[in-house]
Symmetry: C2
Subunit: 148 residues, 2 copies
């Protein structure tokens, strides 16, 4: 179905748009969530619907780039508290800008009302089926930049 192919193509588009930032879509999801505040790795994994096991690798990369920090939770030394750095905050903003530009290119041929309809239909499909989706703001009327 065309929807699958278009989804893949869109994924490639976003991935390429992010390339200059050194981030991949999944990194963006993590950084975006951390902007709301520091989290434990477990709760972060839940929040971005990622396997805790895969989150480790993502965080290793983000930490190596000094975009996030990990520190032990003094209350429970098994836990790591993950926090967005100021560099991470800046990188996130830049990445979001690039993704938004890519999205503008993608939707260039559509009028505002068509974009609204499109977002609405996407939301309805998600809502009306048992489909589990990896990201949150699907019903966001602006088809906005949740790059989960």
């Amino acid at each position: 179905m065309a929807l699958v192919a278009l989804g893949r193509a869109t994924g490639r588009l976003f991935t390429e748009a992010l390339e200059p930032t050194g981030l991949k879509p999944r990194h963006l999801g993590v950084l975006g969530r951390l902007r709301l505040g520091p989290l434990t790795q477990q709760s972060l994994a839940d929040a971005v619907h990622t396997d805790p096991t895969q989150l480790v690798a993502l965080l290793n990369e983000l930490e190596a780039a000094e975009l996030v920090s990990r520190r032990r939770d003094p209350d429970d030394r098994r836990r790591h508290i993950v926090e967005l750095s100021s560099a991470g905050s800046r990188r996130l903003a830049e990445a979001e800008r690039r993704v938004e530009q890519a999205e503008q290119r993608l939707l260039a041929g559509l009028t505002l009302s068509e974009r609204g309809q499109f977002a609405q239909v996407l939301g309805m499909i998600v809502a009306n089926t048992g489909i589990t989706i990896d990201c949150d703001s699907v019903t966001d009327a602006s088809v906005d930049i949740d790059t989960c």
Copy 2:
């Protein structure tokens, strides 16, 4: 973006719907193309926009299941001519039925006119961007079962 996640979820939906047939979406694309007539592997690879190298594995599986046959082209013995068997034809029909059912579930909440709008918008996005898509009938008004 929601579109990416929905595309992935839809892909999983179709893949699962096909499981009882022992086929994967890519097999379906190959079988569907062969229904139009026998082809050389090269032209088949072109037709379904698949790497000739990956097509080999797909055809090995389809041939092992006796859904297609490969024979040398007498005019150029380097070439293989690939042909749909009658069993392949039946399996294809069954697979298409299952995919269509999955699609009905996916679009269950939408009215006919909403489905039309949706297909139209998908087509416009594809047409208005430089996106290369792996399948043909994207602009098909019925959002029909090209499972490429």
